[in-house]
């Protein structure tokens, strides 16, 4: 992978964020390159999801810069962020499907809002996407009629149907059983094969190792390390080992 600045799609520069007395981010620096997926680990409450929400503007950092397409997203108003958000997909932890709309309407939503496609063309794209996420025929189901895994897959499909440049995954496998986790990861890998850039926030270390090209660890409000999956596996860093140690031990046993 060619990680030079011309390939950098997103740069987080010295992000600071506090919630009341709690200083969550103390200078986050992270660069995301094209066709790279970063798996982001951190302890509970360390602010992993806040990083993703800050990138897409759902949270406002107290200071720092978020550089995307040559502009600092922090300087944009809510209205100015709207077209930017069509280029950054966000996969919510629980899918966040619109519960008054069925699956087809949920997936069609971004296409209806941001494209001039006809209803027939939209339906074609939606059906193609449903097939890719193994939900063919689920068009008329409401979110309440879907399993947790199906909701997450539908949420994933809705987030990427506009083919955004960057995809942000917020704990996508949380709460899923192993079979549904495997299915979701297979779906993500299918999209990754077509070229995908993103950040994958998770507690699920094996999932991150399967999807990610690089691993970043958030500790004490800063990015402690960013390195390739292989280097992270071999590291002697005690902090990194505390996150992934058990997984490595399990692999060795196997």
């Amino acid at each position: 992978m060619n990680n030079n600045d011309s390939n950098a799609l997103l740069r987080l520069v010295e992000l600071q964020k506090s919630f009341g007395e709690k200083h969550v981010h103390r200078g986050i620096n992270l660069t995301l390159y094209k066709n790279q997926i970063i798996g982001l680990f951190g302890g509970s409450g360390s602010g992993k999801s806040v990083i993703l929400r800050s990138i897409i503007g759902l949270e406002r950092p107290d200071s720092g810069k978020i550089i995307f397409e040559g502009q600092d997203l922090m300087s944009l108003t809510e209205r100015q962020l709207q077209p930017i958000r069509t280029k950054i997909g966000f996969v919510f932890q629980n899918g966040a499907l619109f519960d008054s709309l069925n699956v087809e309407e949920n997936l069609a939503y971004p296409l209806k809002e941001h494209t001039d496609l006809s209803d027939a063309e939209i339906l074609l794209r939606v059906n193609e996407m449903l097939e890719l996420i193994d939900m063919k025929g689920a068009n008329k189901l409401l979110p309440a009629e879907l399993s947790g895994g199906m909701q997450k897959r539908a949420g994933l499909a809705r987030a990427i149907i506009l083919k955004p440049q960057i995809i942000l995954f917020d704990e996508p496998t949380a709460g899923l059983d192993p079979q549904n986790t495997k299915r979701l990861l297979a779906n993500i890998n299918r999209f990754k094969a077509q070229g995908m850039t993103g950040i994958f926030v998770t507690h699920d270390i094996p999932a991150a190792f399967e999807i990610a090209d690089q691993i970043a660890i958030l500790y004490n409000g800063k990015i402690h390390v960013v390195d390739t999956v292989e280097n992270i596996r071999k590291t002697k860093d005690p902090l990194v080992q505390s996150f992934i140690g058990e997984m490595i031990l399990q692999e060795k046993k196997e």
């Binding site: 499907l97 519960d99 941001h114 809705r158």
Partner: protein, 251 residues
């Protein structure tokens, strides 16, 4: 502090609504859906309440005034009271309870399940998709519901006057038409614009602020109904005084 927080938040939301109202895209279909949800679905409740209110008022005024030989004033008094006060206030209180709580619950549920975040993350505006349709629909539906309630209330009074007070219906209607001026109706409807704006913006604001899971949704719903009801009762006094000074004393 909570009052200031609400006042500030309410003001900011009104500002956001005005900013977004005339900018494309326009979601007319959503507004129509909300008019149906707020207006049409409230018809039967408003009809029953208005009929009962008009009937009871005719009864109370009728038997009360009969002692002083004033039974024939019932049509005038009932019509004036319904159009200027009871129609707008009772209908608005009903709508605050039914619609205000419904909007608050719906928006709060969307907030806690991250659907509001999803609207934003997908490059659209919750103000345009959620708030504006509900506010505009309320501003259209509540005055129309009040007009309907006024009619039904006067009709109910006329029926009771005929059956209980032996007041001829033709006499009733003549007296109503002779007494009422257009300002009686318009001032009543003008109040409903104020009430509709308050109920809908308050419900949307509270819903958007909700956190704390399902308990938060319940708390938001209750808070909206209580706050809206108190506002309607208090502001009705000031609006009535305003119209008496500006409209009726000059009329």
């Amino acid at each position: 502090m909570d009052g200031l927080d609400f006042a500030g938040g309410f003001g900011m939301l009104v500002y956001d609504i005005i900013k977004e109202l005339f900018r494309p895209p326009f979601y007319l279909k959503l507004i129509v859906e909300q008019i149906f949800s707020i207006g049409i679905k409230s018809f039967s409740l408003v009809a029953v309440t208005a009929l009962a209110t008009g009937s009871v008022m005719a009864l109370q005024f009728g038997f009360g005034l009969e002692k002083f030989g004033g039974k024939l004033y019932v049509p005038k008094l009932v019509a004036l009271t319904i159009l200027r006060e009871m129609g707008p206030v009772f209908t608005s209180l009903l709508v605050a309870g039914r619609i205000g709580s419904g909007i608050a619950a719906e928006v709060a549920s969307m907030k806690i399940t991250q659907q509001i975040d999803a609207i934003r993350a997908l490059g659209t505006s919750p103000i345009k998709k959620i708030v504006i349709p509900r506010v505009v629909a309320s501003l259209i539906a509540l005055p129309l519901l009040t007009l309907f309630a006024d009619f039904i209330g006067v009709f109910g009074a006329m029926m009771v006057s005929f059956h209980e007070l032996k007041i001829n219906s033709e006499f009733f209607l003549v007296k109503v038409v002779d007494t009422l001026i257009i300002e009686d109706l318009l001032t009543g409807l003008a109040k409903t614009f104020v009430f509709a704006l308050f109920i809908s913006v308050t419900a949307c604001w509270k819903g958007l602020q909700t956190d704390g899971g399902t308990q938060g949704v319940g708390n938001a719903t209750t808070w909206v109904v209580v706050t809206s009801s108190i506002f309607i009762m208090i502001s009705d006094f000031f609006l009535t005084k305003f119209f008496i000074i500006t409209v009726f004393r000059h009329g």
